[in-house]
Symmetry: C2
Subunit: 323 residues, 2 copies
């Protein structure tokens, strides 16, 4: 099963869900955010992983949707916490409705996610939920660290990497592991696939950070330079602070502490500092390194078949993406 097949299947199943139920105020926002698209990366990769080990992927569909609902619940609450007004070119829930609706519908989605997750064969219920409960909580941990880091100036590269592992990578890795469990994979293969997922997730985030600075606005789909403008302590900014000395360091510090500034100028100047310090290449190498570790884990699986190749292809596309 390739990604296109898996994501079509997931999209079809998500479209079939009926959110036209009472109380409308609770479920209309669920419908809004779920029908709003997105890549369906996590549920699709869950399904693909399952299909490495079994033809019987139908019982992976409900847990796959569970993962997607949980992911969207985090987007819903993150948008509220960040005060974001748009998500995939549509109004966010707290804007279209209000803050309380966003809180309560997000809560309902967390519970709905668990409900879908439980809809799997009894023999897999305990291991699936063990993985799911762990990673879902880790996503909250990651979000909290991300918020904490906004108030700190001494975030290290390792702390940043741990944060994005929790906030981004473990949900991808856990989805993959759940797919493996539901396919009947051995514990060894489950763990290798989890490692594949964590490293892929880290590579993915590294590429995301790169695109935020070096992407093309039209294809990236959001404004370039947001991370620089907001002093987000990404791998690139922390590396630049570590590498910069003398005048360059003073200049970078100046931009970080500037209370009023011309946004475009700040982005241009900080990007120039990144260029001078070789930060782009450093981040690309880091992304490559994670990418290779992910493929390495994949190559160690006890099974090698078409779907494994398709997972590797997907990983390659994710690394080479420009949006």
């Amino acid at each position: 099963m390739n990604f296109a097949e898996a994501s079509t299947l997931i999209n079809d199943e998500i479209e079939k869900l009926n959110w036209n139920i009472e109380p409308e105020g609770l479920y209309a926002p669920v419908q809004h955010i779920l029908s709003n698209g997105g890549k369906r990366l996590r549920p699709s990769i869950l399904l693909m992983t399952s299909s490495i080990f079994t033809q019987e992927t139908s019982h992976a569909i409900a847990p796959a949707i569970g993962v997607e609902i949980f992911h969207n619940s985090t987007l819903l609450h993150d948008d509220l916490m960040d005060g974001a007004t748009l998500r995939r070119n549509q109004e966010t829930v707290h804007v279209k409705w209000n803050d309380n609706t966003a809180i309560l519908s997000g809560d309902a989605m967390i519970l709905l996610a668990s409900k879908f997750m439980c809809n799997c064969p009894s023999q897999y219920l305990k291991p699936v939920l063990e993985v799911y409960n762990k990673i879902a909580l880790e996503v909250c941990d990651g979000q909290q660290y991300d918020m904490d880091f906004e108030q700190r100036t001494d975030v290290t590269i390792n702390e940043y990497l741990q944060m994005i592992e929790l906030k981004t990578a473990v949900l991808l890795a856990g989805s993959i592991k759940i797919g493996a469990i539901l396919g009947g994979a051995s514990v060894g293969d489950q763990d290798k696939l989890y490692r594949f997922g964590v490293n892929l997730g880290l590579a993915f985030q590294m590429v995301d950070d790169l695109l935020d600075v070096y992407g093309d606005e039209a294809t990236f789909g959001k404004e370039i330079g947001g991370d620089i403008a907001s002093n987000k302590k990404t791998f690139m900014l922390i590396s630049a602070m570590d590498r910069a000395s003398g005048q360059t360091r003073e200049k970078l510090q100046g931009w970080l502490h500037a209370e009023t500034f011309n946004r475009d100028e700040k982005i241009k100047e900080v990007t120039a500092i990144y260029n001078a310090l070789g930060i782009k290449q450093l981040a690309e190498e880091k992304a490559e390194a994670y990418f290779h570790q992910s493929l390495e884990a994949l190559s160690q699986l006890s099974v090698q078949n078409e779907t494994v190749t398709q997972l590797a292809d997907l990983a390659t596309q994710m690394l080479k993406r420009n949006n």
Copy 2:
């Protein structure tokens, strides 16, 4: 096992939990709200119910704590949505920290609740989670209806009763049913105990509404008349609107539509209308009726032992309570 024994056990177990973990910003609020007391009604009654059927109540403890954590997550988010500043005489989480902390820590508590719920013998996992996922979502439904009703003037008594069933009664009933499942009760006994819980929950809420009007401020622990002041569409207000005619109806309507008013005067006058219309007696009869239905369900259990008597005693105390 009586209520005092069960709640002592639950309190001891909750005190043993270690929330001194990273990220502190996420778990310190969990510690704050969980160590803040409360009656521990739901987990204690879960444990008592389990002990009707088995001496081996130890494996009901984690799910019991799960129910308590979920209950507290709803309090945390409800306080944020209501803008409440105090809970059990302590600052609410969004006041002591901030809104975003309240959102994220509440989310983490929903996930922690599921995690504790899963910590039960494998053979009970599926039925326990089926009940839990259903009732937890129903609590959200109930909260949404409660918010919807604030904007409506045509709420019927049945709608109000359905709302409090969802918002309050099903969590109590579900906790009881989970206790029964974990005790190894038959499906018939599980259902009877659920009915016991729903009716007890409805009686409990009816008493709560009564105390809000007729309670003694010192023993009730909160200001009397809050429901009247805020036009909350309780059983009593809706019944009064149904019964009132002529001048009394006009007077009541006047208070409901008054934009500015003297709070004490409004409470005194509306209470006088309730008295004139026999609303207190009506609500007491309704509470009694639910109470008797709950005892009726209990009497139909296939097992009758000391704990069943203790559950009936607890129900009686809950109905006769003044706080």
